[in-house]
Amino acid sequence: MGIVAAFRELDATVDAIEDLKRQKISDVTVYTPTPRHEIEEAVSPPTSPVRRFTLIGGFCGACFGYWIAVWTSDYWPLVVGGKAIATWIPFTIIGFELMVLIGALATVAGMFINSRIPKITMTVGFDPRFTHGHYGIWVQEAPERARIVEETLRRHGAEDVRHED
């Protein structure tokens, strides 16, 4: 079962998170109206893997850019302005632009995939206040330990605690 707690203050939220950690309660989701370093520190999560998406996307983009330009030029060789048929320097522009394009889109895709959005359901473990002024903690825990969790959250000054099944 899940417990959703809403906090008014930042430091209270931070204390609660660290307390839960100390109690080896793992499945904790924290909500914050705006990114705060304190919370990130408290949760101390692994580095986001989005950067890999960026790297791969950018690389593919650049390769495709150069390839399409060179291949089409050689596919039907036409001389313009006495220039070589496949000219690398101008094709760099194509390579660069496509690197940026594909790279950027891949990055966004990375963010979506990693943070599991678009989310289909908004009901479970969420409270509209979290996008307003409140911080939130959502713990999914076995019923028998739920009481401890709730008690911990209240101790740290949760404005209110809600149970979900």
């Binding site: 909500y31 990114p35 370093h37 030029s73 632009e97 943070s115």
Partner: protein, 488 residues
């Protein structure tokens, strides 16, 4: 505006200028809830807004009608006068692309530079960017002789087995502009997602709530989302920075790659990029100053922010002015009579007035920003921004028309005068731009809610001795706050 309770201190607060401190940045904003209230409240449509929208749409329709007319009867109805084969449309294209450069600059480059003053204006600038590029993208199509064949510039597999010419600057344009449009639109949208979530949760109208729910992609402010979001935002910024520089460089290649006197010069890319940013900032002023007034957001977009932006404007103006002068020097030093003749003709020839409009508006007037009083005077900034827009349009005019009308072959020297068709379509483009922009500012937050919350002091259970210290748990002394205005 009646619906908006005039928030506390929504006047032009003038705190001590150039003070770098977190809690001083938005003295008028108490807590997160107020941010939602103020910004969310500014979204209610007003009569004035409907009026403006109506005008914009009317102008757009007039322009669109003129374009269909031009397509049917031929480009001859525009003012072209061979060899001046490029005219108002390409001028406006470059103009609008230039406008489109401020947004990404502010949201991306200043983000990397941790320039705090961007926070409250970047959303506005980004939206401006997207719509400006949308406008600019139309002009090449309007300009070409057979618009219905425009897609031939895009490399797609086809049964003719033929492809575009990747050596042509115009194809580079296609790639640069479309990439720029896509990336900046994405940038704008993903930045909006958390704010849309805020609106979603505040919305009362169920239909609106539903739409916002879809648009917000189910964003719920979880710490995990924020983590990936921050990383993505960083990389997007990192990508956009070179992109901004590349796009207008590529646009400048349209000219620099041709051999015409006045075009064929290596100074063009930096010169164009500076000019673009300059014109962009000008347009930002033109837009943000009325908005902060009518939306009562002076306590968000403070004088400090305008001041900082004005400094950026002054800097780019100096760069542009330098470029102008260097051009003349190069022409003289090249000992190339075509170049020399052209540049003489530029300032003393048939088009002298255009050249002088350009020089005064872009070089002389902005010098006033050396005065701190004028920098901190929104009224003056607004007036100046109008001059800048005008001057930058004429900069492109001066680059294109005099060159084409007066180049190598004396027998083909000619004049040029726009016709009613050119003018109508130019006006229509402003209608098109403002139509989108007006629709935007009443549907979506014109100031980034989530990011503003970042610079609003958080609520604390145990008030800390040092109000302005960010680290309330007192455990991470090593952390350096990105305080706004620290680069002022």
């Amino acid at each position: 505006m009646a619906t908006v309770a005039r928030p506390r201190g929504a006047t032009d607060l003038s705190p001590r200028p150039n003070v770098a401190s977190a809690n001083q940045q938005l003295p008028g904003v108490a807590d997160y809830e107020q941010v939602d209230r103020d910004i969310g409240g500014s979204l209610t449509p007003t009569a004035g807004w409907f009026g403006a929208l109506a005008v914009a749409i009317a102008l757009f329709l007039w322009g669109a009608g003129t374009w269909t007319y031009q397509i049917y009867w031929g480009l001859g109805n525009a003012g072209y006068n061979p060899p001046v084969m490029w005219g108002v449309y390409i001028i406006s294209f470059v103009f609008w692309v230039g406008i489109g450069h401020a947004g990404t600059l502010i949201s991306a480059i200043l983000y990397l530079f941790r320039a705090g003053f961007r926070t409250t204006i970047y959303r506005c600038a980004e939206a401006m960017t997207v719509f400006a590029v949308m406008t600019a993208g139309l002009f090449p199509i309007i300009h070409i002789g057979r618009p219905w064949k425009f897609f031939w510039l895009i490399p797609y597999p086809n049964w003719r087995l033929i492809w575009p010419n990747f050596k042509s600057p115009l194809v580079w344009d296609v790639f640069a502009i479309s990439t720029y449009l896509t990336v900046s639109a994405t940038f704008l949208y993903v930045g909006l997602v958390p704010d849309i979530a805020v609106l979603r949760d505040r919305a009362t109208n169920p239909v609106r709530k539903r739409i916002l729910a879809v648009m917000s992609l189910g964003w719920r402010n979880s710490e995990k989302e924020w983590r990936h979001f921050a990383r993505m935002y960083l990389f997007l910024a990192a990508f956009s920075t070179p992109l901004v520089l590349s796009v207008h460089s590529v646009v400048s290649f349209d000219f620099a790659m041709a051999i015409n006197p006045g075009w064929h010069t290596t100074i063009f890319p930096p010169y164009f990029v500076a000019g673009a940013i300059f014109s962009g900032i000008g347009m930002v002023f033109t837009i943000i100053i009325p908005i902060r007034k009518f939306f009562r957001l002076q306590h968000y977009v403070t004088i400090n922010h305008l001041d900082a932006a004005a400094k950026l404007c002054l800097f780019t103006s100096l760069v542009v002015g330098c470029a102008y002068l260097v051009e003349f020097w190069v022409a003289w030093y090249s000992a190339n009579q075509f170049e020399q003749k052209y540049f003489w003709n530029r300032v003393f020839g048939e088009w002298w007035w255009a050249a002088w409009i350009m020089l005064t508006c872009n070089m002389v007037f902005p010098l006033s920003l050396f005065s701190q009083r004028l920098r901190r005077n929104p009224g003056w900034l607004f007036i100046l921004s109008i001059f800048i827009n005008l001057g930058m349009w004429f900069e492109r005019f001066v680059i294109i028309v005099p060159t084409l009308s007066h180049e190598f072959e004396p027998w083909q020297w000619a004049h040029y005068a726009p016709s009613w068709v050119d003018i109508s379509i130019l006006i229509g483009s402003f209608g098109w731009f403002f139509m989108w922009f007006l629709l935007f500012i009443k549907q979506l937050p014109v100031i980034a809610i989530a990011e503003v919350k970042e610079i609003v002091p958080p609520r604390l259970r145990s008030p800390h001795p040092h109000e302005d210290a960010i680290d309330v748990t007192g455990r991470h002394q090593a952390y350096e706050p990105d305080t706004p205005g620290e680069f002022d």
